[in-house]
Symmetry: D2
Subunit: 305 residues, 4 copies
């Protein structure tokens, strides 16, 4: 058989000297909100996909890997999460995963970009699977940092589902010591936070710095990672805990608490595996001492990398 490549493409500029090309077969949405460029398109390899500012956020093919990897380790580390806050998470899939845990009474999702959420509701129903209509869901359109600072609520788990800390971008101050201090104040005594933490392939120094920064605030911090096909790389996360260590949760507890939960990626094997950091990464990370602060925040510059 004979195949010709498509004529419409999205070029993810991994830097100015490397790129990933997605053939585009349909355009569901292509435009700009107040905050960012948004595209929802049918890609050749990953099905329907959401791009923000030209970077893939999640795809039909593997969004479950990212969202299960982000949500469940933190939820399981807390012995009994009832109140959850999500900062970011426009697609509604982080919300969907959080609501799967029995015992959850309320999930507050705070996203700054109302237009984006309308786009996601309309074009990505497979992502939220009705989560926006769950009676336990509270949706707030606000700046996440301000929301946590001004709010007096306490949460069991806070999930930071953010865009990368791009230099000068809207998320840069959501990766600093000062911000994590606010997060910590909003957590109960056994509270757990988790943040996406960029990818260790390109941004190992930033990943290590985010880990250091969480560690500088929380009793316990654990970096973890897993491979996300559409991101083309292992992706990084960091847990901060006021209570348990995620490595001390038992296999049996994970099995018990996830037994009735629909999942395609997360199970007790995934849980422990994700905390493995390869030797060569650990070697580099151990030499990085930087902590990100409001006066000197980590910032990445994709194009010039």
């Amino acid at each position: 058989m004979s195949y010709t490549p498509p004529w419409a493409w999205i070029t993810e500029w991994l830097s100015h000297k490397e790129a990933h090309l997605h053939g585009v077969y349909k355009v569901y949405f292509f435009g700009r909100t107040k905050y960012q460029d948004v595209a929802v398109v049918e890609t050749g390899s990953f099905g329907k996909a959401l791009f923000l500012d030209g970077f893939v956020q999640s795809t039909e093919f593997d969004e479950f890997v990212y969202h299960e990897a982000l949500v469940h380790p933190a939820m399981i580390t807390h012995p009994n999460p009832e109140k959850v806050a999500i900062i970011g998470g426009g697609e509604g899939a982080t919300l969907r995963e959080s609501l799967k845990h029995q015992g959850v009474k309320e999930v507050t999702m705070v996203d700054i970009d109302r237009e984006l959420i309308d786009i996601c509701k309309r074009y990505l129903p497979e992502w939220n699977k009705g989560a926006f209509n769950d009676p336990r869901t509270k949706l707030v359109f606000s700046d996440g940092r301000r929301f946590l600072k001004e709010n007096r609520e306490k949460y069991d788990v806070i999930i930071l589902d953010l865009t990368d800390p791009i230099k000068g971008g809207p998320s840069q101050y959501l990766y600093t010591k000062e911000f994590y201090t606010i997060v910590k104040e909003r957590l109960d005594d056994e509270g757990v936070m988790v943040t996406q933490a960029t990818n260790p392939r390109y941004y190992l120094e930033i990943y290590a710095t985010i880990h250091n920064t969480v560690k500088s605030v929380f009793k316990l911090a654990r970096p973890y990672r897993t491979f996300i096909p559409s991101f083309l790389t292992d992706w990084g996360f960091v847990i901060g805990s006021k209570g348990r260590d995620p490595l001390e949760v038992s296999k049996e507890e994970i099995e018990r608490r996830t037994g009735d939960m629909e999942s395609r990626f997360y199970d007790h094997e995934a849980h422990f595996n994700m905390f493995w950091i390869p030797k060569y990464m650990k070697a580099i990370m151990s030499r990085i001492k930087r902590v990100s602060t409001d006066s000197s925040p980590v910032g990445l510059e994709k194009w010039g990398l």
Copy 2:
């Protein structure tokens, strides 16, 4: 600062609808041997890199991950490997890793493409690090399958460092039941083989089929995988063993046997981690029953994927 992208690029066509672009900054070699297109270039993200037929084989930045992941699990699974055979492995890095194991007396490397090896010797000295000159090395230019079939030697470990089983390509019959039967015959009683097994992101069915095929010949077969940055994906491998199960080797034995060995990726944590197959992959793999045979060999078609 201001950056402009380069003007020379290698496009890895992951299929006709997805591509990976490497900026090219130097060309060390660009030509064709009797068997394949060969390019050795300086890439923007991965340093010096070898491409065969337009696909990256290994890069300065991370070749150690691939080669350590290919070689050490099999070597460690055998309690005391003295004689090793490598089929393929043109860069000489699989050879280099094999020779690191104490007790190894002889490594026979069989590659069909003499010109490629000359190119690798000349342009990729950082890969072989002198391994071609090791007195324990025997280099044979021959078809790997014929070599094993006609040869009466026995080996402790046989490492299959091959190109992918592309439809109609030179490696397609090095992934069949008949071939693995020959491999098994050339192994001693505790002998272990390992093969690269394509990547489970794109070729999960082929990966599963290779696993099934090894399993149909060997007492024990174990698929494993790990993330290789320049391949943009978790990469797959399969071990077949006439003796031990790689999962039954103790952490202590691995530490003892690798204590003096220089490695950047492989250690006992990596060893056990690599055998973890994510739940969604296992679910699909368990439904695939195919075995590859000479009359119906697995074959992949990158372009049309």
Copy 3:
């Protein structure tokens, strides 16, 4: 200043070994009619542009060059065109140019793709400039060849504003001797036809064949060409005339008849210049004897070129 390239692109595959990339800044329309893929986008270099099946048809920046070059030489060659037919011409700009000629009483435009015309009316108003609402305009949705065959009307000028004669495509039989014979029958005694004739850079043989074919039917045939920036090449046209030779029209007549006509490209200098065919093209064209017929139509294959 610092610039980064866009992340959305249209790749015009000039063949499988050459391409033209247009950065995309807005998407006005992206979809498929019954007949073809249609995209209306804002490009980086040419402003708003219409693409059919991945090939640029006309752009805000230079559509006037193409449309004036297509329409006016034929209109001027006829001493007094009153009735005009256009086959194709979805954007409405060929219509717009035809209606500029004083004395024109009726322009019948026949396009097979009603959806395309709706898209052009909605998203490309700068192209038609109200021409669809001109009382002299008759719009017919039909197969162009069937329309001319079954219709008994006579025209002064027939303008063939078609897609290229792609092998197996919808326009292949609109470039044959049999079709031009139908066209000739529908022209009055001084009638003139003109067809776009692909580009002589890539398709010199096809361009020459179209010329030969028109010549095999009409008393007089003249190839001409001009540079269209967004097409990246000189573009080819062929006039067939039952009456005058376009080279015999006087400079004064052109000035008189275009004096009040708004034009940005066409004037008497352009008129005569366009009929110049460079020596190396003439040399090749003179060796090509082929005539396109229904049983053996010319057909181009862009991808495999």
Copy 4:
């Protein structure tokens, strides 16, 4: 039949928002001289081609169009050129064309980049066709402006075969009033100069400015242009003459003087045609009054265009 695109490409960045991709099938040379990046490669569409700093300079397929268009109008405008100087012209093809004129006794070619000329001699013999060995050839490695300034020779024709006046690049001061004044001083009383003048598609303002600048120095200046396939555009040139007007040369003189000369592009029709500037270009050019001077030289910036 089935075709797959190549995996090696040269991307000509026409700007940061438009590009032209050449598939690469062989690499003859890829490296850097003291002055510029040089690549000689086999392209998919244009055969062997020379790229400087990532931009195509000339190709096997159509270098004759560029070189004949650059050389012959100026040579013919002079009634009897005997001494010619070429500034730039590394490939040796401008030299080749100059030497075709009967009566030429000496051609001095001045190029700053000796390594480039060695590369062209070795890899592009089809371009120079032995011209470097012609006894009338004098080859000088020097800065062209300094050479003309310090030298006391007089020439009949001076041909400026330069790279574009890129901001901060080596050719920027070879397009100024002061430079053209030096050129004029080195020409005899009927002397003629010609310069390549960038392309009017992208750089119409620069093209107009170069024309204005030549006009500010010479009695007579004429812009001309012609389509060069591999440049994807009409290309611009400007003649400055101390003697005849190129438009006053007779058709018969051109035929007589080129009768025995091998040419594929240039003839009397090409001569007069090239001086036609389309109406829309003339309209814009007439509004541009700028003259390029040493203190304020024209400069183009391809990337940011």
